[in-house]
Subunit: 133 residues, 2 copies
């Protein structure tokens, strides 16, 4: 597969681009993370979603410690190429808290409110391993 | 309305946080833009979505020149508070190209492919005015 598409992506001053992961069939927005060139290429080549972990400064193969992988369905770019939309098929919870997606806090009447339940407790997902991020 | 929720949001070194706009009923991801504290507050206070335009270095009241406003349905934060998901009711196309959403380029077989049509030509949306961004 060619990599001409990389020229269409605008990476920021840190070499990163935000990537929104959306469940391909339900439309649920699961999480937002960052990719560098290598993560984009690996994602397209392997069909498994790989991010760049800013905290660990390393490639982050989603699900490598939790098993909660994201299979790539389609990668899309926005109109100015500085944001990616990654359509995925998510296995298990996407969030390190064990919730299905990361956007479980709503602002209602000016106050944060938790609106979804933990599906799998983190200690069960990760055991003694470091939670992913 | 209190603004205690602001403490839950992690703004980056430029005082900005990425905000993903999603159509509340269909689940369509419309666009990604940035908000500063003032934009978040204005959005919650007025119920109309306001971003921060990095190119113009000014508040960007979505739809102010095109009429294609976003009514706020709910604002959500992700697990570490550094990304917002804005559930909206979008009037007209969200994208400055006149397409309904900004993610109209898919990478297929390693090549970019346009996958959606222009609904309203930009010159019709903006007339002699500057396209929004």
């Amino acid at each position: 597969m060619g990599s001409g598409y990389l020229k269409r992506i605008t990476f920021d001053q840190n070499g990163l681009v935000p990537a929104i992961a959306q469940q391909h069939d339900s439309g649920e927005v699961l999480m937002m993370a960052w990719m560098n060139r290598e993560a984009v290429q690996e994602t397209l080549q392997t069909g498994r979603v790989c991010y760049w972990s800013r905290s660990r400064a390393a490639l982050w193969r989603k699900g490598e410690s939790s098993g909660n992988i994201q299979r790539l369905v389609e990668l899309r770019l926005d109109c100015d190429g500085d944001t990616l939309l990654v359509l995925v098929d998510q296995t298990g919870p996407a969030c390190h808290t064990g919730r299905h997606n990361c956007f479980f806090t709503a602002i209602r009447e000016g106050s944060p409110e938790i609106i979804s339940e933990v599906e799998i407790p983190p200690e069960e997902m990760y055991g003694a391993k470091e939670p992913e991020a």
